[in-house]
């Protein structure tokens, strides 16, 4: 028996050997070396000298690092939060349309097969100052009165229809889907008539928005990164929605029936049946989302001169920037220190998420 075990151990390690060599050299050894470099003044060429905590103090004093830290953390939290919530909501909204199959599935999966480089270039074009995005926002601004009248008309008709029905019937909801269909349709037609007839002012201003080349900060994050966040969310939400949809469709219907019998309303059922059964999927989505967004690099590098450094820098890019500074000498010590910070930050955030946020399994 003993021989068998040691035999198995031997062949086990043999199976693992190629992978372990790769993991050892390019992961474990790399981390150890990065940790060592962070305490030295290494510059890629001369022998490294031990300098203690000097790199970490200059890191904290470097304004660019503070920007990078702020940008990385806000980007990760905002994008992960937004994409998870949006995907979940959309999945719940379309859940009753049975399953997303065939063409729909292909369409929603499409953005996630694109490379970040191709995607970023397309979005760079879209987000040019005089580009299509500015044009679309400009259209909305110019048509603001038409859009406002659309909403006013829709709300008024919906309220009127619901009020009328409630006088006769019970159980008519405020967002009654049938009435909503009517009121939106009527409002749409009236909006077109209003636009054609020129009953409200329509402006003709050309709006130019600096989506990328700006230093403006909005809610802890530069506008540049908000644009990048928009792009990230746009590409991930459809695919994440498919994931949630798959999760939703594995929830046994008997659970809903039981909840209904107990008199639970829509919201109770959502919070007590739907959300808990989606926990494993949500955990994976949130965790992978955090890890992925914390190391956001490609988009920043491709943006390049299209945006000021401080509005696009992330921890990942800061590390690269100090390793290969344009026109300067490499500062490996500083780069390693920030790389280490990024690693520790990622582990910390993932741990905190797991501890206080969404758990891996149902309790």
């Amino acid at each position: 028996m003993k021989r068998f075990n040691s035999n198995q151990a031997f062949s086990g390690w043999m199976f693992l050997a190629p992978f372990l060599v790769s993991l050892g050299v390019f992961f474990l050894w790399a981390i150890l070396r990065t940790a060592w470099f962070s305490f030295t003044d290494y510059n890629l060429f001369a022998e490294p000298n031990f300098v203690g905590l000097e790199n970490f103090t200059s890191l904290v004093l470097d304004e660019l690092f503070i920007f990078a830290l702020r940008n990385s953390i806000s980007f990760a939290l905002i994008v992960t939060g937004a994409q998870t919530i949006l995907a979940l909501l959309l999945a719940i909204l379309v859940n009753s349309a049975a399953r997303a199959k065939g063409v729909a599935r292909t369409i929603f999966y499409f953005p996630s097969i694109m490379s970040s480089a191709a995607m970023t270039l397309i979005f760079l074009w879209l987000f040019q100052r005089q580009g299509l995005m500015s044009g679309m926002v400009g259209n909305f601004v110019n048509l603001r009165w038409v859009i406002l009248s659309f909403f006013v008309i829709a709300i008024v008709i919906q309220l009127a229809l619901v009020a009328m029905a409630r006088r006769k019937y019970i159980g008519v909801k405020l967002f009654d889907p049938y009435f909503l269909l009517i009121s939106v349709l009527v409002a749409l037609i009236s909006a077109v008539i209003i636009r054609m007839g020129g009953f409200v002012p329509v402006y003709d201003e050309k709006l130019l928005i600096s989506w990328l080349n700006t230093r403006e900060v909005f809610l802890f994050m530069p506008r540049t990164l908000w644009s990048v966040a928009l792009m990230n969310i746009f590409t991930t939400v459809p695919t994440l929605m498919l994931l949630f949809l798959a999760g939703l469709q594995s929830v046994p219907i008997s659970l809903y029936d039981a909840a209904k019998m107990d008199g639970a309303n829509v919201f109770h059922r959502f919070f007590n049946v739907t959300l808990p059964s989606l926990t494993p999927v949500t955990f994976a989505v949130v965790t992978l989302g955090l890890i992925g967004t914390l190391q956001m690099f490609d988009q920043v590098a491709i943006l390049g001169a299209a945006a000021p450094l401080e509005s696009r820098v992330t921890l990942a890019f800061y590390t690269y920037y100090n390793t290969f500074p344009p026109g300067g000498s490499p500062n490996i010590g500083l780069a390693s220190a920030s790389a280490l910070t990024l690693g520790v930050l990622t582990v910390l955030i993932v741990f905190l998420q797991r501890r206080f946020g969404i758990k891996e399994k149902l309790e």
């Binding site: 151990a9 062949s11 390690w13 199976f15 693992l16 190629p18 992978f19 993991l23 390019f26 992961f27 050894w29 790399a30 981390i31 470099f37 959309l90 909204l93 379309v94 009753s96 349309a97 997303a100 729909a104 369409i107 499409f110 996630s112 694109m114 490379s115 970040s116 480089a117 270039l121 397309i122 760079l124 074009w125 005089q130 299509l132 044009g135 019937y169 019970i170 159980g171 009654d176 889907p177 049938y178 909503l180 269909l181 994931l243 008199g263 829509v266 994976a284 992978l288 890890i291 190391q295 690099f297 590098a301 299209a306 921890l315 590390t319 690269y320 390793t323 990024l342 690693g343 582990v347």
Partner: protein, 469 residues
């Protein structure tokens, strides 16, 4: 959106009744309609963005404002005249050009108020370099050196239009000039030129109403009508920027077409990565799934840990290892730095679901672990291996970071994503030649797109692991 009625409120409002069954049915249908509307809306936004970006990549100026949805490149009547002109110019209705024997008929129609005189425009095949950036440096042949223009006929017409300001009828005059542009028969070099630019200078009192091919742009405050190419051919008209991105990204020292080189590099990297990942992950995945020995748990923990840590944490040391091995700027370096952890987990999961009995039967017959793995397990692991290969190919093809760090020169050694970035730096940034950048981006996704369509059912089943980035 499900219809639920409150059961307990019935007694309090005895004068009101519940919604009749037909009304409830209507509401059910309406909620279904909403669901589909959301579905369609989402799909439209998603595909619409790509469709518009693709349309823009065909345009001469993708940044035009306001954005036109109808433009020459998508209009079938223009395709026909472009094909016709391409045939006249070089006998090639698809890609056009200007070659010996070329004989092009090109007409311009000008209009003006009846009391103004329409004078003959000054036409020219200018010595013009196409586009911007690199193209200017590599263009050595010009249609202007071979073109002879003669006016072969004019015709006159008059028509009436309602003046928008006064509301009165105003008479107009239009004059058509037919030109013949021939390839100089005295030239003996037999050179085919890719495009034939054309300009027509006329006073501002007369407007260009019509021409054989729609004008590319008006220059000098509307006095000069300018065509980038009057012999485009149908495909040359539609996919002008695609042809340019392939022809104009050229290594200035060697003359190689860079885009093909980049694609080749990315293919090498992707195929290499597929082999690398499959070998490592199937071996390691099997060990993690099937064998019990000391240290197994630790390996598993490290695998999970390695998936959490960003690549930027390890990249300094990895760069040094590659540098010290003398492998910088090689495709091989990009293949080998990747960590196979996600693939290992995928294979582990598959092997765990593989029926143990088959292996045990083989073991009883005296086969050892390696024989069992190679002859029993692996032949049955095809679905997992395909998923694994697709993930590896897509990951390597789309990977930006490692090629960006490890391959920096010469220009022909880059991988596609980094090549795209260099394209943007030379065309998108200062020049504003966005159609080339967009065309490059769309060409770069073709291989993954083909793979996606071919192996769709495998990809979608495994979206958990690749979906988030």
């Amino acid at each position: 959106m499900k219809n639920s009625t409150d059961a307990h409120s019935t007694d309090e409002h005895s004068t009101r009744s519940r919604l009749p069954l037909s009304a409830l049915r209507r509401r059910q249908l309406a909620s279904l309609a909403w669901v589909y509307l959301v579905f369609i809306g989402l799909g439209t936004v998603l595909l619409g963005t790509f469709a518009i970006a693709f349309a823009a990549s065909l345009k001469e100026d993708p940044l035009e404002n306001p954005f036109r949805f109808i433009f020459p490149q998508i209009s079938p009547t223009v395709w026909i005249s472009a094909a016709d002109l391409g045939r006249q110019g070089a006998g090639d209705p698809w890609w056009g050009g200007f070659a010996p024997g070329g004989d092009i008929e090109f007409s311009l129609t000008y209009g003006a108020k009846a009391d103004e005189e329409i004078i003959e425009p000054i036409v020219e095949v200018p010595r013009r370099k196409p586009g911007s950036g690199l193209a200017a440096a590599i263009t050595t042949t010009f249609a202007s050196d071979y073109a002879l223009i003669e006016l072969v006929g004019t015709s006159q017409n008059s028509y009436e239009l309602v003046d928008q300001e006064t509301g009165q009828n105003q008479s107009y005059l239009s004059k058509t000039y037919d030109y013949r542009i021939r390839y100089d028969p005295d030239q003996v070099e037999n050179i085919k030129v890719e495009r034939t630019p054309f300009t027509a200078l006329a006073p501002r009192t007369q407007t260009l109403l019509d021409s054989t091919l729609p004008v590319t742009q008006m220059e000098r405050r509307g006095r000069v009508a300018s065509w980038n190419n009057i012999t485009p051919g149908a495909l040359g008209l539609i996919f002008n920027s695609y042809r340019r991105v392939i022809n104009e990204t050229v290594d200035l020292t060697t003359g190689d077409r860079l885009f093909f080189k980049w694609m080749g590099n990315s293919f090498t990297i992707a195929i290499g990565r597929v082999i690398f990942m499959i070998v490592l992950s199937s071996l390691a995945g099997y060990a993690l799934a099937r064998m019990q020995f000391k240290g197994l748990r630790l390996v598993f923990v490290v695998v999970i840990f390695s998936m959490t840590i960003p690549v930027q944490v390890t990249f300094i040391s990895n760069y040094l290892v590659i540098r010290d091995l003398g492998l910088l700027n090689t495709n091989f370096s990009v293949i080998m730095v990747a960590i196979a952890s996600a693939h290992v987990l995928l294979m582990k999961q598959f092997f765990e679901s593989f029926p143990k009995e088959i292996e045990e039967a083989a073991m009883v017959e005296g086969a050892n672990r390696f024989q069992v793995f190679f002859f029993v397990v692996l032949p049955n692991a095809k679905p997992a291996l395909i998923v694994n290969a697709i993930m590896a190919f897509q990951g390597a093809w789309n990977d930006f970071f490692w090629p960006f760090v490890l391959i920096t020169s010469p220009p022909s050694a880059l991988a596609v994503p980094v090549g795209l970035l260099s394209l943007r730096q030379s065309y998108g940034a200062g020049q504003g030649d966005w159609s080339l950048v967009l065309a490059g981006a769309f060409i770069s996704i073709i291989p993954v797109l083909i793979m996606f369509i071919m192996f769709q059912r495998y990809i979608v089943t495994n979206q958990t692991s690749v979906g988030v980035k």
